[in-house]
Symmetry: C2
Subunit: 388 residues, 2 copies
Amino acid sequence: MSVTHPAGFRASGVVAGLKSTGARDLALVVNDGPSKAAAAVFTSNRAKANPVLWSEKVIEDGRIDAVILNSGGANCFTGAFGFQTTHATAEAVADALGVAAGDVLVCSTGLIGVGDQSFRDAILDNVPPAVAALSGERDGGADAALAIMTTDSKPKESTIESRAGWSIGGMAKGAGMLAPGLATMLVVITTDADLDAATLDRALRAATRVTFDRVDSDGCMSTNDTVTLMASGASGVAADEAEFTTALTALCLDLATQLQRDAEGASHDIAIEVVNAASEDDAVVVGRAVSRSNLLKAAIFGNDPNWGRVLAALGTTDAEFDPYRIDVSMNGVMVCREGEPGDDRELVDLTPRATSILIDLKSGDATATIYTNDLTHDYVYENSAYAS
Amino acid sequence: MSVTHPAGFRASGVVAGLKSTGARDLALVVNDGPSKAAAAVFTSNRAKANPVLWSEKVIEDGRIDAVILNSGGANCFTGAFGFQTTHATAEAVADALGVAAGDVLVCSTGLIGVGDQSFRDAILDNVPPAVAALSGERDGGADAALAIMTTDSKPKESTIESRAGWSIGGMAKGAGMLAPGLATMLVVITTDADLDAATLDRALRAATRVTFDRVDSDGCMSTNDTVTLMASGASGVAADEAEFTTALTALCLDLATQLQRDAEGASHDIAIEVVNAASEDDAVVVGRAVSRSNLLKAAIFGNDPNWGRVLAALGTTDAEFDPYRIDVSMNGVMVCREGEPGDDRELVDLTPRATSILIDLKSGDATATIYTNDLTHDYVYENSAYAS
């Protein structure tokens, strides 16, 4: 159900011919209201795709009618022609729906540099079929979730119900380039709660900060990431902001861990939990540094509890801690205690996919968890062959 | 010849039993003077091995008699016992040579957490044989270069002659964890020029800043890196500082590129040259960001000129440039021009091992080159099996 689960939304996913496989590659999500309040967050990469440049403007007034998303080409570094393609796409959707182009958000994902005339034609020619296929039923949301996939092995969807009478639905794609400041990640979240744009913006930023922003699969930040939240108000319920933020955060975490579990070529999902940090920033900095150690990630691929690589990585940060007092546990075994060898590393069983690294900085009471993956032969294979 | 090429030095490399292969694993380099001036630079990692903690003190007075180096164990995160091992090692060398322990620099490389009683015994028991084997001939330097190898496939040596009558010799080890702030890299450089410690320190910092510090093979920074420079003054020639620094830089670059060419599992040596940057710092920041993109490195392994991944990486930096004005060339083909697709990417031949990525930021006149490698199946294999 995902994005069509809350009342007031229709969605579709059609074949525009952008994917060489002939799979669905053009998705549309429409908010039928009565409210059109919305919020969005974008990649912090300075190299932004044309749809991001467009959509940053569209969201400024906190109101959108629809989001159109394509896979099969990033429309990034495609110059003025690429930007005109994005503009024309929004115009085509607006014409078909009878709304303003400035209320149509656009998202793309795929290879950077792809966005020529044939790309433009494929999208524009298939906006009418996408509009015609719009459905508020289960299939509409499911087709949209399929259409945004790239190297994802499966669609990612999530829903949450509130006893207060509103619900949230979401879909996501992303399998490589998962990194802070968002990942190659397109996410659309819908709710039938009645909330204004400012509240949606606060809730979305609070939720993404501790979920999508803490997935760091391979340290690479995308040019196209966009998370959009639309509220139709169709439930007629003005949700409590705190309750809504909590529910939204839970839904984002569910989608984020679905992304992690489907990361390109990964064989371990690694949760790096940093505790007793002097500040949350310190905990995040340390977690990220560890999550970016190729040496550690390769060791975990080989089921090798090489804790020295954890310490070598965190030693590169300027977070507050004494490196010779740190404890490190892997899957529950404290392999490093007070900066010295702890329990026997042979006790660590790294064969399960779910992997836990717990780092105790002993410098305060702040905590953060970073979600990453191991570095595998399949990662190298998939990413050396992506463009071909 | 390497470290024994300049007059006034003897070296040896013996089998202490630290390597399971039975290969040489304990090296000693002695300065017989008349001058004992020296300088050293160390890893900037806060997690420092015990020999680094010791050697940082030893070098403070700019004078050392000898350097002892072991492979087969990092003696890092081994606590007070590990530090006592380092101290005892220096004492043993000092006793055998009739010098002060505070003038003996100690280096280790190998697995973090290794440094128990058997490690200590192996080193201490083999200091006398290492002293007995000291030789100023070619074999002495060659044996030392072999004894510091870990996953290196071959020893790295270099020499330079000055017409002024002095020479420099150097040896290096390092194959993984090659990153800024030095790599898992032990380097010993000798010269028979007559220079005081302050001059050596200036020259060494100037040389390493643009050579070893710009090798970023896999983004991982070691806990043990040390580059030591000793001057015997045995040529009787007080070298011109500028000429010496130039020669030292050339020698360091030679050793640094030998490290790059022998990086674990690599199939491409990638020189990322950033030109027309607003500052040298900007050029380095951009080069490093690109050198750390696993996606780009995997693409180059697959001979895929995926320039979008260059732009996605540099967009994560705060260097001064307009991402939509940048040119990117790969092996001489300008695949991205003014932030748009440039010449046909099919023209790029990435089959040679030597790979060039040229990034024109069009923001000033500063330049820097970062040396990195591709991300390969062999890298993953070697680093997932290192501890076993």
